[in-house]
């Protein structure tokens, strides 16, 4: 009997708990719930807390995450206004604005994401198609208009998302820029050519400088040598002038001077190996003819 009483109490407790789960529900912070009655939405609960409801077939509860979701768009190729291809990836922060239209039109977060993806892709291409490439990439920081593009896309999709899907777009951002594969290859080629040009420039600078230095050295050498040549010539001329000065004394008796000079030449040219043929008239050998006769 006592055991039966315990069991009955336990069963009653379980039944009571079961009933409670059917008439109460909790909405957590960051969630939003829609109460539908036999399929028709009745009310939306946006504040967190404990609420009551009717059991199953009469009321069904759909809960959704009410926080801001981040949707990453795909890395897609678009065209700028001046016809250049660029890959752009944007991300969007969105949240549920009206839970009841959200449930009716979308039904869940994955469906919302695909809806937003569609909107994003359309307006992203449209907005980027209006700006030239230099608004995206530019060495001048003021010319780059990334934030304006983000704002334009946000403005374009915000109303649509609100009206069509009951979603609130909080922010957008451009997360990545890229180039298609073919253009990437040509950019690589250009980068390589640029570096090549730089390398060639350095090399030729070096060669030019080397030639200049060598030429300067040669010029200096020539200058030194010609200077020295000039000086030497001057010195030699000095010597010759002094000698000429001294040779003026020969003017006093030119005949004697010539005679002495002839003697010098005689002495210098008649070397040991010379074979000399003299006439017997030549002094002193004229003595051979005249002998010891006094002449």
């Amino acid at each position: 009997m006592k055991k039966n009483g315990m069991m009955i109490l336990f069963a009653l407790l379980l039944a009571g708990l079961f009933v409670l789960t059917q008439v109460l529900f909790i909405v957590r912070e960051g969630e939003v719930a829609v109460v539908t009655s036999l399929g028709k939405p009745v009310r939306a609960v946006t504040e967190a807390g404990l609420y009551n409801r009717l059991p199953w077939p009469f009321h069904a509860i759909h809960t959704f995450d009410n926080r801001t979701h981040i949707h990453e768009g795909s890395f897609e190729e678009t065209l700028t206004s001046d016809g250049k291809n660029i890959l752009v990836s944007m991300f969007v922060g969105w949240r549920i604005a009206d839970p009841i239209p959200f449930l009716e039109r979308l039904g869940g977060v994955p469906q919302a994401e695909s809806g937003i993806d569609g909107l994003l892709r359309t307006y992203k291409s449209a907005v980027i198609g209006r700006v030239p490439f230099s608004d995206l990439i530019n060495t001048d920081p003021d010319a780059v208009k990334l934030e304006d593009i983000e704002r334009d896309v946000l403005a374009a999709i915000r109303d649509q998302a609100r009206d069509r899907y009951g979603l609130d777009i909080v922010f957008t951002g451009i997360s990545r820029l890229g180039l298609p594969e073919t253009i990437t290859q040509s950019v690589f080629d250009r980068m390589r050519a640029e570096r090549q040009e730089l390398a060639d420039r350095y090399r030729s600078e070096g060669q030019g400088e080397a030639i200049r230095i060598r030429a300067a050295a040669d010029a200096e050498r020539d200058r030194l040598l010609s200077e020295a040549e000039g000086k030497a010539r001057r010195l030699r001329a000095e010597g010759d002038a002094a000698a000429a000065q001294y040779y003026q004394v020969f003017a006093e008796d030119p005949e004697l001077a010539i005679f002495l000079k002839k003697l010098d030449v005689l002495r210098d040219t008649l070397t040991n190996d010379a074979t000399v043929v003299l006439s017997s008239d030549t002094a002193p050998y004229d003595l051979l003819k005249s002998g010891d006769a006094k002449r």
């Binding site: 995450d65 990453e72 390398a199 400088e209 020969f250």
Partner: protein, 616 residues
């Protein structure tokens, strides 16, 4: 005759068939894979019920026929006409045939079918996770089925305790098994409806395991049946699973446990007060355990790197919602829950690469990729000649950025965004892209890297504050930056060319250093030689001057003598070693006769001849 057993078996079969059809329909319409796993149960239930029904019926009919025959025999023995003669007891013979052949064969046949089905379930059916529809309908159907089958099972099990209806035990056990399986399926369907899709696959796998176990046991029983000496009595109920019996008749297993304990210990342990106490206290103990588990949800421990947010009925508690690390009391489960946020941890991430490979190389070169997947960022380019139409004035760089952040506002972080880490990573990418788009390649590769890192941190922080993320970006820095691997060699060759330039200039300077001193030396030598010449000439001229002047003086005193003397002295010096030929030159002749007697002119008689001038 109590035909309740038979009718209950008929009910079981009919109900089983109907439920199997509904199950098949629900399998196709809802897509819940568990229904496919449930089908073998119906087969077991129906076939075993059929077998039991046949056996009971045959037994009954055979007994009736025997009674009739006995009555007939009695009547015939008192009558004149042996009217019918010996009617063969066909039912008894049929029964014997069935009992000898069909019943023992039932076990291996069932084992075979069950194992094939289990194998098919394990291997062939697609256990991929798809979202079943109408899970709630499936759940309610399974719950109802469980209830009905449970009633049948208890009823038949109770009836089987009577001696005459013992054959009902088999069908009862299989019905009970199906009932429990339906409960499992209902629980899985509720879980699927609640969002936990893998529950379906899990329940299906459990059932596959159960069928496999049952098949194994039936194979074992077949073998025992073949080799056991108690063949006939064992064979009659070989198809009843012993495991099922021990699980589904609880009283059976407590008594069997008690019996085995008694056997082991050698005395009536099961009769002691302790085991009696255990038996009576088992349920309350279980309940107390559950209550204890529940009470433990009233306590919570927050780890040192975390911060807890207390939520009462889902919304943030009004008083002191933020719980610091340590132990805290709270209301048990549905009333208060705790959401954990890693607020004391330094979290971080990376942009531009995937850092999963743990193989670190010693030297990171620009020509080898640093990581497996590296993103290329577009940077602006200052090259002036690239403004031609169609050309894209950009460079590409591989940049590896890392960032670190800390949660400052736990509530904002937890309740503002569903995936804050992704948001921060996207913001980091955005900041990096924006910074790269306005800088030139040489700025980023060169000395402004740190500055750019700080700028990125600033951008990220302002964006995070704008979005009210509740984090503080502690650090952002460019960990590695290099030109794409495909053009890295061109960059490296620029450095080589700088070296070449230096080399050219240095070689030219060396040339200068060798040429100029040489030239200077030559110049000096020329000058010195010229000076020497000048001095020599001057001295020589002076000497000649003096010489001449002296001689002039001497000459003037005695001209003739002076001349002759000087001439003759000179001649004697000059002709000293020379070979002289003094020839008498008569006037007017040009002919000169030359005789050289030093040489031997006549070498032989035949050689005599006129000497000509050309000979010597």
């Amino acid at each position: 005759m109590n035909r309740t057993g038979e009718s209950s078996l008929v009910v079981t079969m009919g109900l089983g068939g109907l439920l199997a059809l509904v199950t098949a329909y629900l399998y196709t319409s809802s897509g819940m894979l568990f229904f496919a796993a449930l089908m073998p149960g119906y087969l077991l239930m129906i076939s075993v019920s059929l077998l039991a029904l046949v056996r009971i019926r045959l037994e009954r009919v055979a007994a009736e026929e025997e009674r009739n025959r006995a009555a007939e025999v009695k009547a015939a023995s008192s009558g004149l006409f042996g009217s019918s003669g010996d009617l063969p007891v066909t039912s008894r013979r049929t029964q014997r045939i069935i009992e000898t052949f069909l019943v023992p064969a039932a076990t291996p046949v069932l084992a075979l079918i069950l194992s094939l089905w289990a194998w098919r379930l394990h291997d062939g059916l697609p256990w991929s996770i798809t979202a079943p529809e109408n899970a709630l309908i499936a759940a309610s159907f399974l719950a109802g089925q469980a209830f009905l089958l449970f009633l049948l099972y208890r009823f038949m099990l109770g009836m089987s305790r009577n001696a005459g209806d013992r054959l009902l035990r088999g069908p009862a056990l299989y019905t009970g098994l199906l009932s429990i399986a339906s409960v499992l399926g209902a629980a899985a369907a509720v879980a699927v409806h609640g969002g936990y899709i893998p529950a379906d696959t899990l329940a299906g796998r459990i059932m596959t395991g159960v069928w496999a176990l049952l098949a194994l046991e039936l194979v074992w029983r077949t073998l025992v049946m073949i080799y056991s000496p108690r063949r006939r009595t064992f064979a009659s109920t070989a198809y009843e699973s012993r495991i099922l019996r021990s699980v589904l008749s609880p009283k059976g297993w407590t008594t069997s446990i008690a019996q085995s304990v008694d056997y082991q210990f050698g005395f009536g342990l099961s009769g002691s007060w302790f085991s009696g106490f255990l038996r009576s206290a088992l349920i309350p103990l279980l309940v107390f355990q559950i209550a204890l588990f529940y009470a433990m949800t009233a306590m919570t421990v927050i780890q040192p790197h975390e911060v807890g947010i207390k939520e009462r009925f889902g919304r943030m508690a009004d008083a002191d919602p933020i719980l610091a690390s340590g132990f805290h009391w709270k209301l048990p489960w549905p009333f208060e829950t705790v959401r954990r946020v890693p607020a004391n941890d330094i979290l971080g991430g990376a942009v531009g690469f995937e850092d999963e490979d743990e193989t670190r190389r010693e030297v990171l070169l620009w020509t080898i990729p640093h990581y497996r997947n590296e993103d290329l960022f577009i940077t602006a380019s200052r090259s002036a000649d690239v403004r031609s139409a169609g050309a894209v004035p950009v460079n590409l760089l591989a940049i590896n950025l890392i960032y670190e952040y800390r949660i400052t506002n736990a509530a904002a972080y937890a309740y503002g965004f569903s995936d804050p880490e992704t948001l921060i990573r996207q913001v980091a990418y955005r900041s990096m892209t924006a910074e790269a788009a306005v800088h030139d390649l040489s700025d980023l590769l060169g000395g402004r890297r740190e500055q750019v890192g700080n700028d990125i941190r600033g951008r990220m922080q302002s964006r995070a504050d704008e979005a009210e993320l509740g984090v503080e970006i502690l650090f952002a820095g460019i960990q590695g930056i290099h030109p794409p691997v495909q053009v890295a060699d061109a960059f490296q060759s620029v450095v080589g060319s700088l070296e070449e330039r230096e080399a050219s200039i240095l070689l030219a300077r060396a040339y200068t250093n060798s040429t100029l001193p040489e030239a200077r030396a030559e110049a000096d030598a020329a000058e010195i030689a010229a000076a020497a010449y000048r001095d020599r000439r001057t001295t020589q001229a002076e000497a000649e001057n003096d010489h001449f002047t002296n001689r002039l003086k001497a000459y003037r005193t005695q001209p003739e003598v002076f001349r002759s003397r000087l001439y003759l002295e000179t001649l004697s010096d000059a002709l000293a070693g020379s070979r002289l030929f003094i020839v008498d030159a008569p006037a007017g002749t040009d002919e000169i006769l030359y005789f050289n007697f030093e040489e031997d002119p006549f070498t032989s008689v035949l050689d005599m001849g006129p000497l000509s001038e050309g000979d010597h």
